[in-house]
Amino acid sequence: MRTHLIEMKVNGKACSGEAVARTTLADFLRHTLHLTGTHVGCEHGVCGACTVLVDGVSTRGCLMLAVQANGARVETVEGLASAEGVLHPLQQAFRDQHGLQCGFCTPGMLITLKELLAENPDPTEDEVRDAISGNICRCTGYQSIVAAALQAAKELRRSGSAP
């Protein structure tokens, strides 16, 4: 089976690796680039755990081939906190509001909410719930995740920084 050279910018850093065509973007990130923050749950686009940003838009990492992301700009959960380890306002809010228990869904939740807050800095509770409707969490009952999203939105508006 032919391998493909795949180059992409992940969290601002140029990365490359070789993979056969059937490798999904999520598996490429995890196994080739060793970025295991992106989780793989259902592998058929339902659970949302593998959500990453590809050229700025949220994408299921299990429903896109790595070779299709050749040349793309990819953002994963590893890119959220600063290099010094200061949590992103979304991560801080998840911590403050107990927005996770087991943490399996968290990378997908954070990435999906990052996209939402970038286009809508002041979402209603309903808009938050609509945005994360494609991300399944079996621990929290979503209450604390919604509270965290609203807290992060408020903090980002206060500080005037981009999500």
């Binding site: 059937r22 999904t24 896109m64």
Partner: protein, 291 residues
């Protein structure tokens, strides 16, 4: 699971893509991948070759002219959902697209992919049927053909295209400004496949009578279906409650399927409710210029 092995091609030209499909047996077009990738991961499909059409720029884009909107096959569902021109001339698209999967799948999923996958519950296939859309298809040697949606829908998950052909665009005839519209569906959870959906477009004359109407229903049968008998019955009526109730009775003539999501009887009951809601809302919206 992981997809089975396949060869991958990523042409940048439409003719090149058609020739690749023609040259390889058991090849598949990879559009947005939001159904195909899931089917590969579930090992429902074992193609030898995937021809990725995501880098063929001419396949994406929206052009609204008087009378019709032309939507490129590779236009992402989320792009159609958030397009201001489409919202102005065919607002039912935004209403229905909010029900298609989730934001993350709409960011990748395309209108052409949805039409070619042709799930019976697909909102976009139901909308295409509702509008009597025309599908533009590319074949070998630069050949193009245009196919009405009624002929394009050949059967359960079966579009009327050859293995080497590629859908280029969908032409959606537009209704007059201020037309009534509504799309209702019921699914167990937001974004799930609809148990039943009902889409309606209508126009009223100066006296408030229905002068033009289209009704399309999804999810209940093997393919989306028009409810022509109800359309004919409601022409000239004003949407009085008794007439709406009579119109719902035409649902008995639908082709119905039952599966583990719901029996045929249940689907019939749900589709009647969805249709009643859509008719009422479309009637209330007709003539309002602010929609």
């Amino acid at each position: 699971m992981k997809p089975p092995p396949f060869e991958y091609f990523c042409p940048t030209g439409l003719n090149e893509a058609v020739e690749l499909l023609a040259a390889h047996e058991n090849s598949k077009v990879l559009a947005g991948g939001q159904s195909l990738m899931a089917m590969l991961n579930l090992r429902y499909l074992f193609p030898d070759v995937l021809v990725d059409i995501n880098r063929i720029d001419e396949l994406a884009g929206i052009a609204v002219a008087s009378g019709a909107a032309r939507i490129g096959a590779m236009t992402r569902q989320r792009v159609i959902e958030t397009n201001g021109e489409i919202a102005r001339v065919a607002p039912i698209f935004r209403e229905a697209l909010k029900l298609v999967g989730h934001r993350q799948t709409r960011n990748r999923g395309t209108i052409g992919g949805s039409l070619c996958h042709l799930d019976p519950a697909a909102e976009l296939a139901t909308l295409a049927l509702l509008h009597d859309a025309v599908v533009e298809i590319a074949g070998r040697d630069g050949g193009r053909r245009r196919l009405g949606i009624h002929d394009f829908i050949a059967g359960f998950m079966m579009p009327n295209i050859e293995m080497h052909e590629i859908v280029v665009a969908i032409e959606v005839p537009l209704w007059s400004a201020g037309h009534g519209y509504a799309f209702h569906e019921f699914a167990r959870r937001h974004g799930d496949f609809a148990i039943a959906s009902a889409a309606c477009l209508l126009e009223k004359d100066g006296g408030g009578a229905i002068s033009r109407i289209s009704i399309a229903l999804g999810g209940v049968g093997s393919v989306p279906q028009r409810l022509s008998a109800a359309e004919e019955f409601l022409l000239g009526k004003r949407g009085e409650p008794g007439n709406l109730a009579s119109a719902l009775e035409f649902c008995a003539g639908l082709e119905l399927i039952g599966d583990f999501h719901g029996s045929a009887e249940y689907r019939l009951s749900v589709v009647r409710s969805m249709l009643r809601k859509s008719l009422e809302l479309a009637l209330a919206r007709a003539g309002r210029r602010d929609t």
